[in-house]
């Protein structure tokens, strides 16, 4: 038992953003040092909190010492503890990457404001996970989103501004839906605390107000995490923003909003309500299957690397919702695992895309010929994560897909299996295309025939080797390698995340 206040993960990044802003007025600039320290402290604190939760169970932190139904409560249980570790890790790694990336790609002039907004976004992300209060959740959702809208517009591309504006309009509609849902719940119960709502709500389960509240919150959050028919903002926002922002958008913001939806479905409402009283899971099941299939086909049609990665989030978010919609304990375990796993995979992939664009200015998959030889470490990481996206055993992607598939069989939904297989085949196709271009396609017709001999010559002459190799700076490569390494480590030593996710799934379903 390590004594760590839960508020640390929110307060530290928030104070860091203010500190950066104040210090920015002086000539002494140390914004990235502060950012890294703040995210590192959050990460260590989240590990300690997860450890504590595994020892003693649910941790409740009273903000300002006010007792929960009146004051705001921060909660760490198996579910939030697990997701918190994943998100704080992504925050730390993307911030480390941003130090090098932002100076070179976004511009020196926007360096400082980027660091401030990044810290605000991190504050919101961590806040959504730990809060036990519905209105507080809305506030953190908006803190995250406002910072994200600004960060998307920070890119050099003109299109990013329009993408950001579209995201802003749709994101705000989603947020207002969440707010209306929260308002309805407050109207009927007079409380905003999640645990308190859970206790009071059952007597109102036949009320239309509660149905409307549930529908509003579900649709609002579904817009935010781009469930299939509500995904239109995602493609341009996730592909035109600076790579490090794309990484946070896909790895953290989508995950955290999906986390919030599962929280509302199983903690605010009881599992019995979500699964039996209203057919929410049946609707979500259909939506998620369409998301997986259509997402896969759309992704296969993309020619731009970042756009392809953005598009594949669609199907992957479908997987998370699918696990929840199956509502078997094993499938929900798979969903919770996929929150972590997809964070690691997509976070890493966008950072890789950023490194490739930074070093060789390649945007299209068709132009990627020879990148495997120029950037061996980066492309090795890409290959590992690509295999993980497909779901090859010993990678994290396999663990979550396996759990969702077995859960589907246990629930008697055999028709899920072909969907998972088809989507995996599509993933093989679109990641295979990139890997084939990067490693095996010839750079030009004249060199093509002798590519093997060319390779051999490279090995013999170290000087020529160093000439053609142009890896991104270490500040960018190290976070990428950590992401790729974790895909293997957590896929091989899968019992660690699985055991925690299992506890979380049991807690969500049985409410203990």
């Amino acid at each position: 038992m390590i004594s760590v206040p839960v508020s640390l993960v929110v307060v530290v990044p928030m104070c860091a953003s203010l500190l950066i802003a104040v210090l920015g007025l002086t000539k002494y600039r140390c914004h990235w040092h502060i950012s890294i320290v703040a995210t590192f402290v959050s990460f260590i604190a989240s590990l300690a909190l997860l450890y504590n939760t595994l020892q003693i169970g649910r941790i409740s932190y009273w903000l300002g010492g006010w007792e929960p139904p009146w004051g705001i409560e921060y909660v760490i249980d198996y579910y939030s503890g697990f997701v918190l570790v994943a998100i704080t890790l992504v925050s730390l790694l993307t911030t480390v990457y941003a130090v090098t990336y932002v100076k070179r790609e976004v511009g020196e002039s926007r360096d400082l404001s980027f660091a401030i907004l990044n810290m605000l976004m991190v504050t919101g992300l961590h806040g959504i996970i730990v809060t036990g209060d519905l209105f507080n959740l809305y506030i953190f959702l908006e803190i995250t989103s406002i910072a994200a809208y600004s960060l998307i517009g920070a890119g050099k591309k003109k299109g990013a501004l329009v993408a950001s504006f579209n995201y802003l309009i749709l994101g705000t509609i989603g947020a207002i839906f969440v707010l209306i849902g929260v308002a309805y719940l407050y109207m009927i119960t007079g409380t905003l605390n999640m645990a308190d709502l859970r206790a009071i709500l059952p007597v109102h389960y036949d009320s239309k107000v509660v149905f409307a509240a549930f529908a509003f919150i579900t649709v609002g959050l579904a817009i935010k995490f781009a469930l299939f028919p509500l995904h239109t903002w995602l493609l341009s926002a996730h592909s035109l923003a600076p790579a490090v922002v794309c990484s946070v958008l896909a790895a953290s913001i989508l995950k955290v909003t999906a986390y919030a939806l599962i929280r509302v479905m199983f903690t605010v409402f009881e599992a019995g309500f979500t699964l039996e009283v209203i057919p929410a899971t049946e609707i979500l099941l259909v939506m998620s299957i369409i998301a997986i299939i259509v997402g896969g086909i759309l992704t296969a049609a993309q020619t731009n690397l970042k756009r392809m990665l953005a598009c594949s989030s669609l199907g992957q978010m479908g997987y998370i919702v699918l696990g929840v919609a199956i509502a078997d304990q094993m499938a929900i375990t798979g969903s919770i695992l996929h929150l972590l796993n997809h964070s690691l995979m997509k976070g890493g992939l966008f950072l890789i895309a950023g490194a490739i664009i930074h070093k060789v200015r390649i945007y299209d998959i068709a132009d990627m010929k020879g990148v495997g030889r120029k950037m061996p470490l980066t492309m090795a990481a890409f290959t590992i994560i690509g295999l993980s996206m497909v779901g090859v055993p010993l990678t994290v992607g396999f663990v979550s897909k396996w759990h969702i598939a077995v859960g589907a069989l246990k629930a008697g939904m055999w028709y899920i299996i072909p969907v998972i297989v088809a989507s995996s085949l599509l993933t093989v196709f679109y990641f295979g295309r990139v890997i084939r271009n990067a490693y095996f396609a010839s750079e030009g017709s004249d060199q093509g025939s002798s590519s093997k001999a060319h390779d051999h010559a490279h090995n013999q002459h170290g000087d020529r080797n160093s000439e053609s190799r142009s890896e991104a700076p270490p500040g960018m490569v190290i976070p990428i390698l950590i992401f790729a390494g974790l895909c293997i480590i957590l896929g091989t030593a899968a019992f660690i995340p699985v055991s925690i996710a299992e506890k979380a799934a049991i807690m969500l379903l049985e409410g203990t």
Binding site: P69, W70, F135, I139, E142, I146, Y149, S150, G153, K158, G159, L161, V162, S164, F165, L168, I169, T172, A175, L179, A183, Y184, Y186, M187, I188, T189, G190, T191, L192, I200, V203, H204, D206, S207, K208, V209, F211, A212
Partner: protein, 116 residues
């Protein structure tokens, strides 16, 4: 006033001539100790006498005193602040779009994007 419940609702006027919106439920699932005063979030945020929390916990409290539940006001105020910030960001984006494209006409921006 948004209300979709089947439960009957009585609008009571107390001595202080303040409007108290009280949810009285005839549902048999609903225990008598749990009936509470609703705070209106979207409509009036008006004066109420007691928060449902006090009734729910069965606390022995002195005679109800009319007071304005501050929570809906705080929440609406916060939502307004959020709305203002979003508007600020949106307008800033529109200005940047205008600088980048020389227009804020959506069709024209789409045409410029297609040409490039």
């Amino acid at each position: 006033m948004i209300d979709g419940t089947d439960n009957s609702k009585a609008l009571l006027l107390d001595n202080h001539n303040t409007c108290v919106n009280r949810a009285v439920c005839d549902d048999d699932q609903y225990q008598s100790g749990q009936e509470g005063y609703r705070s209106e979030y979207l409509s009036d945020g008006g004066i109420s006498t007691f928060n449902s929390h006090f009734d729910k916990r069965g606390w022995d409290l002195p005679d109800p005193v009319p007071y304005v539940n501050p929570l809906p006001h705080v929440m609406i105020l916060t939502a307004i602040v959020v709305g203002v910030s979003i508007t600020a960001v949106a307008l800033a984006l529109v200005i940047r779009i205008n600088i980048a494209y020389g227009t804020i006409d959506e069709d024209e921006i789409a045409r410029i994007e297609q040409d490039s």
